[in-house]
């Protein structure tokens, strides 16, 4: 005998309790502290801050702990928290030219003022599992050298001086805020960059990769990649001037892209731009490639119909919180709709079979 399914509430409470127990795991193993995650899972923390659009390493670490290491879930926690915060104002544009770099490389010039600085990179490591790490207590120390150059001028400025690269004049307009206004297309570059910097790393990477494989190819070189800290300044109306309110780590990537000119633009190099919270260089490079691909219209290039050239396609599918929510919602009950489909299939099938029988009887 069927009994209407009751007790959704108790089932949910029990599921949450089970989840909490599983999250903690074996109690014989010490609890992972938020400070440990923040200090030792920094790249995960960076991704959560970047895609969560909230620069707070402590909260990001907490979210990772609560999410059992599921970074998209952690990003979701940060986003949901972020929306409850009041928006007091906005900072002055950060000056990445004055960044205190820990890493700065250019793939277009062998050397440049300020030098090439590898910094803490996986690039030339051999990907061999380091079994020593399985033993605890290691605290490696890197040698320190002479200080870095005071100034690290932008690589693209050298090209700019010769007029070889398309100029990027500073814009005066206050950029729109995609978290406060509904997305409308065409979006404009400022909005596109906003959507890309918080977009899913995997999605933006895949889009960028597709341009390299020929779907909207744009011949990129990493003109410059820099990672470091910048100061954040904000105008305080009561004071009448800007004060420094903190420091954040950013990754900035400027690509230099070959461009043979178009009806509207002379032959010159063009740029793609990526700027992301934290040390997140895969994302910043990907962002720069996708940004460049999306600029086909303003540069008078041909629309090849490549996915990465399609602003509406890229921007409406880049957000992993939207994507995962909608994807996973198909777990929810759909039996009312399914019942409707059942009736329809039975009806159409019945009609088709009756017609077939009639045909056979002839």
């Amino acid at each position: 005998m069927y009994v209407a399914v009751k007790g959704g509430e108790r089932a949910i409470d029990n599921a949450h309790a089970f989840l909490a127990e599983e999250r903690r795991g074996d109690p014989a193993i010490p609890d992972l502290s938020v400070a440990q995650i923040r200090a030792q899972m920094t790249l995960a923390v960076n991704r959560v801050m970047a895609e969560g659009s909230l620069y707070d390493p402590d909260l990001a670490a907490l979210a990772i702990k609560q999410a059992r290491g599921d970074l998209i879930e952690a990003i979701f926690l940060i986003r949901a928290y972020r929306t409850t915060l009041p928006r007091i104002g906005h900072s002055r544009p950060v000056d990445t030219g004055a960044m205190a770099c820990i890493r700065r490389i250019s793939a277009t010039f062998k050397d440049a003022p300020g030098g090439q600085i590898l910094g803490p990179t996986f690039d030339y490591t051999h990907r061999l599992l380091d079994f020593k790490l399985a033993a605890e207590g290691e605290a490696p120390q890197a040698p320190t050298g002479a200080g870095l150059a005071d100034k690290m001028p932008r690589i693209t400025d050298f090209l700019n001086r010769e007029g070889l690269i398309q100029d990027e004049p500073p814009g005066e307009d206050t950029p729109p805020d995609m978290t406060r206004a509904p997305m409308e297309y065409p979006a404009g570059r400022a909005l596109r960059l906003q959507a890309l910097t918080r977009g899913d790393e995997g999605f933006v990477l895949g889009m960028a990769y597709s341009t390299q494989r020929g779907y909207g190819r744009n011949h990129p070189f990493v003109g410059e990649l820099r990672i470091g800290t910048v100061t954040v300044e904000m105008d305080i109306p009561e004071l009448g001037f800007a004060i420094e309110i903190g420091e954040i780590t950013l990754t900035e990537c400027e690509t230099v892209n070959q461009f043979m000119g178009s009806k509207t633009e002379p032959p010159q190099f063009t740029r793609g731009y990526g700027l992301v919270f934290g040390q997140t260089e895969r994302k910043a490079i990907s962002m720069a490639l996708v940004d460049r691909a999306l600029r086909w219209k303003e540069l008078g290039e041909e629309n090849e119909g490549a996915p990465a050239q399609d602003e509406e396609f890229v921007l409406s599918h880049a957000d992993n919180i939207q994507a995962t929510g909608f994807l996973e919602h198909i777990k929810l009950p759909h039996y009312v709709d399914f019942q409707s489909e059942l009736e329809l299939i039975r009806k159409v099938r019945g009609a088709a079979q009756a017609a077939a029988r009639k045909e056979a009887a002839k």
């Binding site: 919602h329 039996y335 009312v336």
Partner: protein
């Protein structure tokens, strides 16, 4: 939970949503873009409906939340609990006692009355989306009332299958102007959209759209003269309450093809049983 504002959203956000709602009511069936917020539940799980409900709720309201017509499905329980925690409003399972009803996929069987608000959760607000994926294009089509593509689709359905192959989220035309997606309600529910004295609000969080059907608005399901719209349901009475006019869920009862049909609207079914109605599989009255 005093850390959050009444009904979770801050007042500025509620004002923004209410402005969108007013516009939606003023232009029935038109999709109004709104700056949807990230909610503490996932996109696709009712964030649009939750934001609309949050913007409509007052402390005096009585809230009912249903999913698939039922008050006790997990997501309905979760959303109801959310508003109990963040707004402290009274809740009910009785359609007639609720002032605000948030729903996913159904319209209650009990006719709605003046003063009630029905809030729909909407996954894809654009009725033309699966004919034209581009928002830039579909907005233009709505502006120009260019709905030929939709009629061609329905015609092709008939030509190929002998019937319109849409059984839920069946497109409607609102007050002779906008073609609208009624959210994935079964087409059985479509006639209830029209002329109701209640206010019907639709929220799509992920897609950042709000739209509305004001009270006493004419809503017509798209069809052809020779293939008129048909509100269909399983051709059975409810096995628990005996109603032969309500929308039914089919429940598999054993692994030998056994099945039963029960009202999807749990409040409707329970009220009828309390009033003494019985169905084919109702428990036998205790003779002793």
């Amino acid at each position: 939970m005093s850390d959050y504002n009444f009904a979770y959203l801050d007042e500025q956000t509620k004002r923004m949503i209410r402005r969108a709602l007013l516009k939606a009511v003023a232009v029935p069936g038109y999709q109004v873009p709104f700056a949807s917020r990230e909610m503490p539940m996932p996109y696709g799980w009712g964030t649009g409906g939750v934001q609309v409900t949050a913007a409509c709720l007052t402390p005096e309201d009585t809230l009912k939340v249903i999913d698939q017509g039922a008050d006790d499905t997990t997501n309905a329980v979760s959303i109801r609990k959310f508003f109990q925690r963040t707004a402290g409003v009274a809740v009910t399972e009785r359609t007639s006692e609720a002032s605000v009803i948030q729903t996913r996929h159904r319209i209650p069987e009990t006719p709605l009355t003046e003063g009630q608000i029905l809030v729909y959760q909407v996954p894809i607000p654009e009725p033309l989306r699966f004919l034209e994926p581009r928002e830039t294009e579909t907005r233009r089509m709505h502006a120009l009332e260019e709905y030929g593509l939709m009629h061609v689709k329905l015609y092709e359905d008939i030509a190929k299958n002998g019937a319109i192959a849409t059984s839920y989220a069946y497109p409607v035309k609102v007050e002779g102007r906008y073609v609208m997606d009624p959210s994935p309600i079964p087409k059985f529910d479509n006639p209830k959209l029209s002329g109701t004295p209640a206010l019907q609000l639709f929220g799509a969080g992920r897609e950042q759209r709000i739209y509305a059907i004001p009270p006493h608005t004419q809503v017509i399901s798209l069809d052809f003269e020779d293939y008129p719209f048909e509100a269909t349901k399983a051709p059975h009475p409810c096995d628990l309450c005996g109603d032969d006019g309500s929308y039914l869920d089919e429940v598999i009862t054993d692994d030998a093809g056994g099945r039963m049909f029960v009202c999807s609207d749990t409040d409707h079914c329970e009220s009828r049983r309390a009033a003494g109605h019985r169905g084919r599989m109702s428990p036998k009255e205790n003779a002793a």
